[in-house]
Each structure stands twice: as C-alpha cells, then as structure tokens.
C-alpha cells in the first residue's frame, strides 16, 4: 500500500488543451479519495497521468515515496478500472481476472485458483467461464474489480466505475465498493461526475474545474463549507441558494429582506459591501406564518423529493429554495417564509468563501 503524491502536475495535450494545470495533491496510504468534477474538467486525464498512460508535461507523480513520473505504466504498481471496463472480449471471466497474474508469469493452475478465490469474493462464482459479452453491466463491473484486486497493486484507480450501471444497481455497487475498499485498505482514487457518489463514498475528496482543484476536504467539509461558489453550486442534490447581498451594518440585505450576518463571517465584512449570500435549501426553516429574519415571498413551485419537498419561493424577483418535510408542504401561490440557519449560511466575496 502506498500514498500517492502529485507535485505541480501539468498536462498539455498536443492540440494545446491544458487538461491539468499545476495540480498538487496528496492521497495518504489507504485512503478512499474521490475526484469530482463536471465532464471535461480533466478527471480522466489525471487518472491516466497517474497510471502513466499519459506522459506528464510538467511536475511529478510520486507513488509510495518513489518518483514514477518517467516510469512505464506497468512498473508503477497501480491498477486501473476503465470507464468501459476494458474486459477482454475473447477471454472468459476467469482468464480476464487472472490476466495480471499471467503477465507476472504465475503458473496457470495458481492463476485459476487465485481468480476463483477473488471471483468468489465478489460473487462471481458460477460465471467464471462466461465471456464478458454474456454478462450484465453489474457483473462486468465486478469482473473489472476482481481483475484489479488480483493484481495486488499498491493503489487502485477507478474511472467512473459506476456510471454504466442503472440507478438502482449504482446504489448497491456504491455500498459494495466502499465496503470492499475498507476491507482491502488499498489507496484508491475514484473519479466521478456525480457529487452524491463522491459524498457517499469518499474519505476525502477534491472538486475539480477546468484542470484546477477548487477544494479538497472531507465530504462533510465540502458539503457544509464549499470554498467557492463553483463548489457550492456543484455539490448537493439540490443546488445551494446563491443570492446577491449587500452589507447593512450587522445584517445583510438579500432580495429586499434582512438576514443576520452568518456566524462564520462575523466581523469580517465592511458596511455597504456587495457579496453573495449562500445557504442550502436543507438549512432553511420554513414557515407559513411570518418569522424573524426570514426570506419572505410567494410559493411558485413545489417539487416532491420523496420524504421531503423542495419549495421555490419568489422573493422579489429572485428565486429562493427551501426543503420542507413531508406533510408541511405549502400550496402553490400561498405566502411562505424561509429562515436560513445562521450557523450554516455562508458569504462569498469575489466567489471565494469569507
């Protein structure tokens, strides 16, 4: 097992696209690390550069204390699951799982034994002599995992391993993958564009935008205190309310209403300053009747989220969203009042958290 360390890692593609711009990152030994970002931000490039499939334009990749920047992929002791799994269509499941061992010249008998053992652990027994084409998406994904496990590599790299599964299977696989990683204790870098997946699975995570890392932290930190408006808007299944605000003494004027300055920003704001006020819909107390320090408006839309409702209020000419528990949802057109939680509200100056 080994830590992964990236120092000033830069990748410029021949066409001139800068996919990675001087990235610094440390993934400690044994950590389950998620890389989250919109598509095209350079996640796959980052994984491929760690694996050695792309040559870094600048900077260094250090795995287990060894600088592997110029080392061939096969000698880096990492294993990768590709987005399309890349299972060899002409080999059966057992041969696919055992392929890394074949490269290491493990004798055939021992190879099949190990494949059977790993396969059984992932619930693949009974499928060992099928071809990948005869497997479901979920089974293929587990074969790809089994093949990676058979390598006993120092670190695992997963490129959106769940994105080819349907929604229900994805939830199952999520739990399964997390449990597996915990048991194996192998350093894992996990790429996804799905923020819920990153929040649910990662020990720590990084949010990327256009070749830059915009925030690194635990899922709780990233969710509760997004470091900038990009992360704030990207994280959360319901997007954060990001509202223009003006400082008026020790209150903020937001869409014509007055709310207190958030606890985290107290004493750091200047009177008359224009800022962005951020609060998650989950961190709003909603009431039908008037309330202090509330954003008050008319209910425009009510969306069913299952056990709760997402209520959109028209406050002046801005839309404010709040999550309301089931049974308390208002009628469209009625008056509504949303009170932000002071300890969870945030202020952004020039896009950065104050």
């Amino acid at each position: 097992m080994a830590a992964i360390e990236l120092r000033g890692l830069t990748k410029v593609y021949p066409g001139g696209v800068t996919a990675l711009d001087a990235l610094d990152l440390v993934v400690p030994d044994g950590e389950f690390f998620a890389l989250l970002g919109p598509s095209g931000c350079g996640k796959t490039t980052l994984l491929r550069t760690i694996a050695g499939l792309e040559a870094a334009t600048g900077g260094a990749v250090v795995i287990g204390g060894r600088d592997v920047t110029g080392v061939q992929p096969g000698e880096r002791d990492v294993a990768m699951v590709f987005q399309d799994y890349a299972l060899f269509p002409h080999m059966d499941v057992a041969d696919n799982i055992a392929y890394p061992l074949r490269i290491k010249k493990v004798p055939k008998g021992a190879r099949r034994g190990k494949a059977a053992e790993v396969g059984a652990r992932l619930g693949l027994d009974g499928l060992m002599d099928r071809r990948p084409g005869q497997l479901s998406g979920g089974q293929q994904q587990r074969v790809a995992l089994a093949r990676v496990m058979a390598t006993q590599a120092q670190a695992f790299l997963f490129d959106e391993p769940l994105s080819n599964l349907d929604a229900r299977l994805r939830l199952e696989a999520r739990t399964f993958l997390k449990k597996l990683q915990r048991e194996l204790g192998v350093t894992t870098v996990f790429v996804t564009h799905d923020q819920a997946e990153a929040l649910a699975m990662a020990d720590r995570m990084a949010v990327m935008e256009a070749g830059h890392i915009r925030q690194i932290g635990t899922p709780a930190e990233v969710f509760q205190r997004p470091a900038n408006t990009f992360v704030a808007a990207f994280i959360g299944s319901t997007p954060m309310n990001l509202l223009d605000a003006t400082v008026r003494g020790d209150t903020l004027e937001v869409a014509g209403c007055k709310v207190p300055v958030p606890a985290s920003a107290e004493g750091r704001l200047q009177d008359g300053e224009r800022l962005v006020y951020g609060v998650r819909p989950e961190y709003m107390a909603y009431s039908d009747g008037p309330a202090d320090a509330a954003l008050a408006g008319k209910v425009a839309i009510v969306e069913n989220l299952g056990a709760s409702y997402l209520v959109t209020l028209d406050v002046g000419d801005v839309a404010v969203q709040a999550v309301v528990p089931e049974g308390r949802e208002p009628a469209v057109g009625s008056d509504g009042h949303a009170v932000p939680r002071r300890d969870r509200a945030l202020v952004y100056r020039d896009g950065e958290l104050v």
């Binding site: 499939l53 096969g74 880096r76 990492v78 890349a86 390598t151």
Partner: protein, 284 residues
C-alpha cells in the same frame, strides 16, 4: 399491401437475376469434368447419357484419371500450396505488425506513405514491372527459387494488406491495450494476448485474400520459375491450354476444378470459423 407484395416480388426477382448471373459461368466447371469428351457446351453428366438427347452427356471419371497421370498436374497443386501458404503467412505477419504500429503511433507522413505504396503496388503487380523484377531476381540469384518468389509476391501484396488491416486496427478500442499495459504487459505481449485475438477475423480475411491472389497469379511464377517441377498450377494450366495449339478440354476442365477446390474449401473454412468480412469496413 399491394406495395408490399410488389416489393417482395421485386426483391426475389432481383435476387434471382443476381444468382443466375453469378451461377451461369460456373456451370461448365461443375459439369464438364465429369463428361466424356467435353465441349464448351454445358451438358449434364448422366450414366448412359449423351446418346443424341440434347443436354446430357455420358458420365465418366476418366478425365480425373488423365489428370492424375499427367506428370506435372498434381505436383503443381502442391507447389501452389507452398507458394500461397508461405506468402499468406508472411503477408499476415508483416502486415499485422506494420498495420498495428501505423494505427497506434503517429509516424510522420504515415497516410501519404500508405497511399503512395498502394498506388505503386497496384501498378507493379501488373505487367509494368516484370522487366525490372526479372532483372532484380537475376541479380539476387532468386530465379527458380520458391523463397525468392514468395518474397516478391509478399512485397507486392503488403501495401494493400497493411491498408486494409490498419483499418481493422483503427476500429478496435484502445482501452483494451491500455488496460493490459497498466497490468505490465509488454508491447509484444499486448499484440499477442489482446490485439491478435481482437482482429483475428481481419487476419483471416487478409490471409484468404493473399492466398487467393497467389493461387491465381500466373505472371510472376511464369517469369521467375523455369523449372517445371516447381511451377504452380496457374502456369501448368496454360501448358494444358495450348497443347497442340488447341485447348485440351478434358484436362483443362478437370484440372480447373481440382485447382479451384482448395481455395473454395479454405474460404468456406475461414468464413465459418471467423466470418469473412471487412470488419469495420474501410472507413474515413
């Protein structure tokens, strides 16, 4: 409904015309060898046939006996097998390696090079270059050498083979190779374990194409092999053709059939096992 029926009728009519067009010339090949005294006419060989009633002829195996007794007929088939198997093996091996490298690595001037070679090959394998090739063979001491002939034929077939195989390789996803590479496979291992199995139908198609080409090639062996014991069936066919100024139809038809059967069997085998098709097609 009427449109549908008309469409069906049109479809089967067209298919019937196509079938007739492609079958008609072949009828003679499957009947003449079994008839006594074959002419250019297609007659059905029947025991006791050919007594004035039109369209039939006496059935016989005699023509095959005559071919067996011909001193060079059967050995020439063996020579054809040697030449085409050797050439096909060499073409497939060298073209696969080259096509793979050209498909995966951007070498400068790659496409232009391929097209130029393709152009040259279609001309050089024709009649234009027989003189320099002959002189070259003399200089390199390759006259009457089967190996020399195989090398020359290979050189002529390689550009088109590379061109077609590269297309196959281009259409296979790269992630298989990358995955093998991360597991530590060397480039040659990747070719053996991953690329060859993936493009096997393409390799088989190119092999059939190469064999069929060499099997039918008359000019090059005629030019470069003077020893009649080394000459392939293509050359021997013409010695039957002109015997006594007139075509010997008994030998010609029968030998033609024997000469055709091996390539047909090979095609059937390959198409059954791998499917005979230009996989992704030649795209762009």
């Amino acid at each position: 409904m009427i449109r549908f029926v008309l469409g069906r009728i049109g479809f089967y009519a067209l298919v019937a015309v196509v079938l007739a067009f492609f079958t008609l010339p072949l009828l003679w090949l499957v009947t003449a060898p079994f008839t006594a005294d074959p002419t250019y006419e297609v007659r059905v060989p029947l025991p006791g046939g050919g007594r004035g009633d039109g369209g039939t002829a006496a059935f016989t195996w005699d023509n095959f006996r005559a071919v067996l007794e011909h001193p060079y007929a059967l050995p020439s088939l063996y020579n054809s097998v040697l030449l085409s198997a050797g050439t096909a093996a060499l073409v497939v091996l060298l073209a696969a390696l080259a096509a793979y490298a050209l498909s995966r690595v951007r070498l400068p001037g790659r496409d232009a090079l391929l097209y130029v070679l393709l152009l040259l090959s279609s001309i050089i394998t024709g009649t234009a270059a027989i003189v320099p090739l002959f002189q070259l063979a003399v200089e390199l001491d390759l006259i009457d050498s089967r190996l020399g002939l195989v090398l020359i034929l290979t050189g002529g077939l390689l550009p088109a083979a590379i061109f077609m195989l590269k297309d196959f390789m281009d259409s296979t996803p790269k992630s298989y190779e990358e995955s093998a590479r991360v597991f530590g496979a060397s480039p040659l291992q990747i070719v053996r374990h991953v690329v060859v199995p993936l493009v096997r139908p393409g390799l088989a198609t190119i092999a059939v194409w190469a064999v069929a080409n060499v099997w039918g090639n008359f000019l090059m062996p005629y030019l470069l092999l003077s020893d009649v014991e080394k000459q392939p069936a293509a050359v021997i066919t013409y010695t039957l053709y002109t015997e006594g100024g007139q075509a010997n139809l008994r030998l010609l038809s029968t030998f033609g059939l024997l000469y055709s059967v091996p390539v047909v069997l090979m095609y059937l085998f390959v198409s059954k096992k791998y499917g005979f098709r230009f996989h992704g097609g030649i795209k762009r």
